[in-house]
Symmetry: C2
Subunit: 234 residues, 2 copies
DNA sequence: GATCGACCACTGGTATACCATACAGCGATG
DNA sequence: CATCGCTGTATGGTATACCAGTGGTCGATC
């Protein structure tokens, strides 16, 4: 778990619920990149004071979803093509390490459920709408991060994954079935390497996967053709 | 424009100066891991209100130097041996990527000053006290991060480097001349690979460097002999 | 004497009010 | 008519006061 999600079952900690709410609005697209997020407006809307709103905005800034500038206000973060490339390179390094560590540490069964589904998606024996497939991919990557058993990697990847979701929605909307299929195939290869305990292969496959899709993202931003390339689900 | 603040970072923004102050106290060892950092005490001590202190503590929590728990207070973060290993693995991935990108992107001259000094330190023709040598190493790693021209990598490594400094001080104090020498040799090898534009070699050398020293750190924590191993300056 | 419970002092969390700065709009001025 | 500057209004930044848990301590009780 990251440092921001402590248990605390009670009603305190409003800023945490506010953070969840704002995060949801940003990732869902209700707030578009560049949109201002004034503390007072949110505070009034959620019937709280500015303080927890401010707290939440700082957290979101830390997660890279919000940009706060001096006396000019908080805005939904904007991502340039260069920003996205940078983000994906950092992600490639961290997810590659996560895959390596997962291959070294976890048992061969913990990805079994994923492998079964990915195999079915790849060969077409399972049908799944793109949104669900994308969500499955997200969960897969998060499972690998957790499987690394490395708190630092988990925490850093958590802050990256939200940004990735946002970038993905910016570059294109949802994925076509063809992309989902390719994504599933690549995910299956990664899961197989991890389950086999082949750390080198796991890292290499994961890095290829991430960088391939980064190139795809760039091509989409440049307006290239949308033929089946990498996956949308990573 | 001499002392005129160009953007917003000058006159206002007390929490920024407070953050610097607290960070300095933590990294210098004045505040030991586990020590409480009550908002009110700091506020009174620095003659400000709790609000900017709170803001600063949040930033430090984000940087991994402070741990804030529910209603129990903020404390200087403690690092277990496992935490340190995790941190260094994440660092290995990110610094490896930074070295790769730097090799691909920057000209061959930007590390020339470092290479000259490291060469002298490695062969003994230059003498430097361990503290200065360690600082040089820090600057070297930061220079590589900047040389990656990758905002995400730079940002993530910035939050890691502070933690690394803290861990280093926890595992041992300063470095012996012998360690500094080995550090310089490894740094020289990294700089050479980057300057040669050999991205693969740069990444590999950097990862070896980081992981070697991570193992050394672990051995020190376990109480092993302090014979010249990796560097202290990374 | 050991144990359990109530109390109290401590912490961070929240609410409200006020301050300083940045920018837009508009009017005076050349 | 263009330009400069003032002012109004927006923002985040800060200060103060109060609320709500938490943990330790001390006393009553068995």
């Amino acid at each position: 778990m990251t440092s921001r999600e402590r248990d605390d079952s009670g009603g305190t900690r409003k800023y945490e619920t506010i953070r969840q709410e704002l995060r949801s609005r940003i990732l869902s697209g209700r707030y578009q990149p560049g949109d201002p997020i004034p503390e007072r407006v949110i505070a009034e809307e959620l019937a709280v004071s500015r303080v927890p709103v401010r707290e939440a905005l700082r957290q979101l800034e830390r997660d890279g979803l919000v940009s706060i500038v001096a006396q000019r206000g908080a805005h939904v973060r904007e991502f340039s093509a260069e920003n996205m490339q940078s983000l994906y390179q950092a992600r490639e390094a961290l997810e590659g390490m996560a895959a390596r560590l997962a291959a070294e540490r976890v048992g061969e069964t913990y990805l079994a459920a994923f492998m079964e589904k990915f195999a079915g998606l790849a060969d077409g024996s399972i049908d799944m709408d793109p949104t669900a497939a994308a969500e499955l991919g997200n969960e897969f990557h998060e499972a690998i991060a957790r499987g690394s058993r490395n708190a630092a990697v988990i925490e850093l990847l958590a802050t990256i994954h939200d940004r990735v979701r946002l970038c993905r929605r910016l570059a294109y909307g949802h994925a076509s079935p063809a992309w989902s299929r390719r994504a599933a195939a690549e995910h299956l290869a990664i899961a197989t390497a991890i389950s086999d305990g082949d750390a080198d292969l796991a890292e290499r496959t994961m890095r290829d996967h991430v960088s391939t899709w980064a190139r795809f993202l760039q091509s989409r931003l440049a307006g290239d053709s949308p033929r089946p390339g990498p996956t949308e689900a990573d």
